[in-house]
Subunit: 109 residues, 2 copies
DNA sequence: TCAATAGGTCAGTGACTACTTACGCGACAA
DNA sequence: TTGTCGCGTAAGTAGTCACTGACCTATTGA
C-alpha cells in the first residue's frame, strides 16, 4: 500500500513527467507527442513515459507503429485521498501553532 | 512554481517522511518522537525531518533542548490542488479509453 | 523490396539519495 | 562543574536517477 504510493509520488516529483501527465488529462497521446513536449532527447521522453507506466499512472497500447497513452486515474485518486486525509486530520486537530518560519533552504544563503 | 511542487512531492515520496507527516497531522511533535517512529538510526530520522523542512512541509522551532515540529499545510494544499486539477480535467474530457492494462512492472516477471 | 517513420533499448556518466557511525554542542539537573 | 540528554552535522558508502548518443526493431508507404 505504501509502496505504490511512494513509486507514484516519485514519478510525479519530476516536472517533465507532470507535464506529460497534464497533457494526457486532455486526452490520449502518442509517445512522440509526449516526447515533443519536453526540451530533451526523445529517448529521455520515452524513459519518463516508462516511469509513469511503471508507476501505474498511465495505460499504453500499441497502435500500428505508434504507441498511444492515456491516464489511468486510480493511483492519482489514491494520492489525492492520502493528501486529503492528512489535511483533513490536521484541520480537525486545532493545536497551538508555532510562529511562522521560512523553509530551511532560505536560511542558508 | 514547478520547483516547489517537485521538491515537495519528492519529499512525500518516502514512506518514512509520510509517516512523520501523518504523525504531525495529529499535532506538533519533537525530533525525538518523530525519529522513534522509524526503524532506523536517530540521525536518519533527523535527516528526513530536514528534507521535510527544506520542502516547506513542516515548521520547526527550538524549545529548550528539544525541537518541536508542526505541519505547514500550504504546499500540501498546492499538491492537492494540482492533483485535483489533473483529475478534474481528465474527468471532464471523456475520450475513448484504451482497454485496461497492468502497470509495466508486472509485465516483466 | 527499400527507405522512412515511430519508438524502444543499451551502455555510460555525473549527480543525488538514504543510510551508517562518529562526533560536537547547547540545555539542564545533580 | 560535570555528566547526561536531545539533537544536529560530518564523512563515507552503496545504490538509484536523469540524462546522452548509438543502436535495433517493427510498421508503413512508394
Amino acid at each position: 500500500m505504501g509502496a505504490e504510493l511512494s513509486t507514484m509520488l516519485r514519478a510525479l516529483a519530476d516536472p517533465s513527467r507532470r507535464a506529460q501527465l497534464q497533457r494526457l488529462s486532455y486526452g490520449p497521446a502518442t509517445s512522440g507527442q509526449l516526447a515533443e513536449l519536453l526540451t530533451m532527447s526523445r529517448p529521455a521522453g520515452s524513459q519518463h513515459l516508462a516511469v509513469l507506466i511503471d508507476a501505474g499512472l498511465i495505460n499504453s497500447m500499441q497502435a500500428g507503429r505508434q504507441r498511444r497513452h492515456e491516464i489511468r486515474p486510480e493511483y492519482l485518486y489514491l494520492a489525492e485521498s492520502w493528501l486529503g486525509g492528512v489535511l483533513r486530520q490536521w484541520e480537525s486537530a486545532p493545536t497551538l501553532r508555532l510562529p511562522d518560519r521560512e523553509p530551511r533552504v532560505s536560511e542558508r544563503p
